[in-house]
Symmetry: C2
Subunit: 566 residues, 2 copies
């Protein structure tokens, strides 16, 4: 295999200046991970950005709310950006927009109508007024040197776009998130004909969604979910609760249609569900028969077989309505034996335990729970291997760069490109920060810029870093033991017995009883050695307590000595 | 549906004394969860226990090493136990044995040869010498009033047994973990004929493994893994590393056979792999051709296409050999482009992120990674729905009690029992601690004993409880801010500026700069109010700092004030 693909070593060098007439591509997020998609294109000293999303944290990032793309590489060049193009309205593509706008409030944001409506709602929450520029599939417009053409693509949210970017360096096609449902609910097909036309013209670089590249075959049509929902809801003679993603308009449409068919009114539960479906209905992307929707309060007064709830919480989020129901803690809805709950959603990797926790809670209360593990109530929004082959054969690209995926997905996608005839040395597997230059029709890795994790925790961005997270991991595993000592600053003599307390260490109130005498002994030792420096005294105490707790308990709490000179 | 099955409310009352001639069944672990299986049978004031396993902790139990069954219900009756029967040697069935032996070192432990060999090795590590009594399939022996008959069952470890327990109250059959591979590698079939014979005699209560009850159909034979491994390893022309469970002797046997076929020597990697395969070879359960095994050091000197590693770490355990390889940190083995890694194992729910982290690390280094997601390199050890129907139809039980499962599995298993003709009111869905009495041929829930989580953390058992875990969760999410103040005990006046420090709160050294003046202001306030009680001063400080951090950062670190009277 070529050095480009499998060397196992990626460059650490800052790239050389971009060659004249070349196009530079750098992902600040979204390659080597699933989430926080953001790709920067550079030509002639100007920048175009595609997508600006967030990533949700994993176990090793405790307390973090969101992870942003790393803007450092463009911070000093923020006024060189001609536009931000958004392919669709999912959080992993638009979630970081407000944070980028803090750096440049007037950044032109380009996207389809629904995408921009979601961005506008998000920005409103951040009290920002973005500069929005609506585009449609089939449209071609230039921002600076970047001549962009937009193509309809099918995904798990309406109004998604792929973007072709023409510069003198060549033609680049970026799929965004994509699949090839041949019978989409809204009739809006992925524009394979358009892609073929681009292929005829010659696509120099093809950036391709890798999420499902490991999955063989094809996704069945979204349309096939409807009859399954119909069957389940027809059999229900009590309450029905359907949980799904709050942006999946077509899924909700099918639920509404089934509700109408079976004489049920519908209550929307969850802030994002209410907000997004309101937007979708306003834009005529969701058809809601008059009188179908009722408020939660109204729904609670109706006969149980005449109501249906559409709720968020399909990922087992602990504060969601569905989780509260599963714990028997929801203010309005208490699950009763015979109720039906449908999780019409995937399980995002990492959420399995939380989702099954919710399922078990609901089942324990007697609900009949239908989920993708026992019925066909979800289809993926991403093209698996069979559909990706169609894309490669339509586009016939000169160079390929898999995006949107962990390493296993990127490699699988690269292998598909090679199978369709793309030469191995023209398939560039990068990761976040890797610099790819398209020069003279060939894409090559030329260096690397630093891309780290930027954490949002509460109101502030970036002050929680690896050191704080590593402390949190230690504290979360073993708690801490604090030892507070007041010493005479002249002699180093302890002014009182040390105050010992532990949190997250033991439920046993006597667990640390032995520490007092241990510390006192150490203090008389430091005093006798003439040690008065509080920092050194603290070091001694930390060492002796750490050793004691390792020997006695074989645990590693954080040891926190505080020595106060009085 | 009957009250027995779906009331959604389980009793909280202590059960009445067991009726004369009745048999009582209480699970101290393993029902409502997967793991720490332990079921207590009581007849005529005497006890028999089946299995004594551990559960591995989830995210909500940070720092915990193991979770034990709750022994409280039998602690005072420890000398009334006639025997502990172990169905097989997996950790979730034997892992808590050393902890039970601490309460009663001479407890008779009954099991098959391989099971007892694993128990003996485990007890040796705990410096215990258990009283072991070997039994074989087909054998029938009584311990006290409990007349036990053992049946061969097929599972993902050799030498597994089901146990039939006869008392004057009736005949109970407990499957242990079970599946119905009709072409097992060792030819040792689940004894369906024996189960049918019991069915003829009349099984009053059938306790059935629920793990795969939600999965339709049948498990393919373990035997079908061999050819898949053969195909992958035949194509490999560099190093091959196979990771699997350290107790899966038949899986390892197939790997060894393939290694022989392709002229590769084998190095075992990982302490438990080396130990268990040594035991299996000694007991002639594993056939190892002479000269096949080499040490890791030898393996490193051999040509790469003549060696194969069998390793632990298939669950992504961060300290395992495989995880180290994926991070490029293994002392001996560095993964190179073109190496082959096979994860011949399932993903235990909750481990998905860790396992895929390892896969991505290996793929990034250029390895070809084969796992159950892209090849048939694993089959489950538990009977899915189709096989469970065979069991119900062979046994034709009067009463059924699903065991070994979360709520979703228990309900699915119960539904299968009903489909085969067991009356709904004879299917008892219990959970840990629920007391089921078999009286006059009918099993009924009669009460509940308290069963909590018993945590092992380091050397001690039980001192880490819910309060410690809840502190760890707070600390792990937000860290802490400590405020140390020395006050004049007579006046409550601060003797020095407060010492403020945060851990796990922020990487920004100035993040807490404003806290000093905030606390000083509060202290002058408490002093002016004449407050000298250190506890009350601490309360004031905690409140004011907590409010500040919520307003400023929208975070919730633990606030830890220490007020020292001087």
């Amino acid at each position: 295999m070529s050095a480009n693909r499998t060397s196992g070593k990626w460059p650490h060098n800052q790239p050389a200046p971009l060659a004249d007439g070349g196009l530079r591509i750098v992902a600040l997020g979204g390659i080597g991970e699933i989430g926080r998609n953001m790709t920067v294109f550079e030509y002639g000293g100007r920048l175009l950005i595609v997508d600006c999303g967030v990533l949700f944290p994993e176990d090793q990032q405790p307390g973090v709310d969101l992870i942003l793309p790393d803007f450092r590489a463009i911070e000093d060049r923020i006024n060189e950006i001609d536009a931000l193009v958004l392919t669709h309205g999912h959080e992993d593509h638009i979630g970081a927009v407000p944070f980028l706008l803090r750096l440049r409030p007037d950044l032109p944001i380009i996207g389809s109508r629904f995408t921009l409506a979601l961005v506008a709602a998000k920005c409103k929450e951040h009290r920002l007024t973005p500069s929005l520029h609506e585009v449609k599939e089939g449209e071609r417009r230039a921002w600076g040197v970047f001549d962009c053409e937009f193509f309809a693509v099918n995904h798990s949210i309406p109004d998604a776009l792929a973007v072709a970017i023409r510069t003198p360096a060549g033609l680049v096609l970026h799929t965004g998130d994509i699949k090839l449902d041949q019978l989409p609910l809204d009739g809006r097909l992925t524009d394979l004909a358009g892609f073929s036309r681009l292929g005829d013209e010659g696509v120099d670089l093809f950036l391709v969604d890798s999420t499902n590249a490991e999955v063989p075959g094809f996704v069945i049509s979204e349309r096939e979910i409807g009859p399954v929902l119909d069957g389940v809801i027809q059999r229900a003679n009590q309450r029905v609760i359907v949980a799904c993603f709050a942006s999946h308009v077509h899924r909700v449409q099918q639920v509404l249609d089934v509700a109408v068919a079976h004489g049920r009114r519908v209550a929307l539960v969850g802030r994002s569900m209410v907000r997004n479906m309101g937007i979708a209905a306003d834009l005529k992307l969701l058809t809601v028969p008059p009188g179908l929707l009722v408020s939660l309060d109204e729904a609670m007064t109706m006969p149980e077989d005449q109501v249906l709830f559409v709720s968020t919480g399909s990922q087992g989020e602990p504060l969601s309505a569905l989780s509260r129901m599963a714990r028997g803690e929801h203010r309005h809805i208490s699950i009763r034996p015979g109720d039906t709950v449908i999780l019409a959603s995937s399980m995002i990797p990492g959420n399995e335990t939380a989702v099954f926790g919710v399922v078990n809670g609901l089942v324990r209360l007697g609900a009949h729970v239908v989920h993708q593990g026992n019925a066909k109530v979800h289809v993926s929004g991403h093209a698996p291997a069979g559909e990706l082959l169609f894309l490669y054969n339509a586009v016939r690209p000169s160079n390929v760069m898999p995006v949107h995926g962990e390493w296993r997905h990127l490699r699988a996608n690269a292998a598909l490109a090679v199978q369709t005839g793309v030469p191995e040395d023209r398939v560039v597997i990068a990761e976040d920060g890797v610099v790819v230059d398209l020069v003279d029709g060939q894409a090559k890795i030329t260096g690397r810029v630093e891309v780290g994790h930027v954490y949002v925790d509460g109101l502030s961005v970036g002050d929680v870093g690896e050191s704080t997270l590593s402390d949190r991991l230690v504290l979360g595993e073993g708690g801490f033991i604090s030892i507070t000592i007041a010493v005479d600053s002249a002699t180093g003599r302890a002014m009182a017995p040390p105050t010992i307390s532990g949190r997250g260490f033991s439920d046993d109130p006597k667990a640390l009883d032995d520490v007092v005498s241990l510390v006192e002994m150490e203090l008389s030792h430091t005093e006798s050695e003439g040690i008065t420096d509080t920092h050194r005294i603290a070091q001694h105490v930390r060492r002796v307590v750490g050793r004691w707790v390792a020997d006695t308990y074989r645990r590693r709490p954080m040891i926190v000595p505080t020595v106060i000179p009085v």
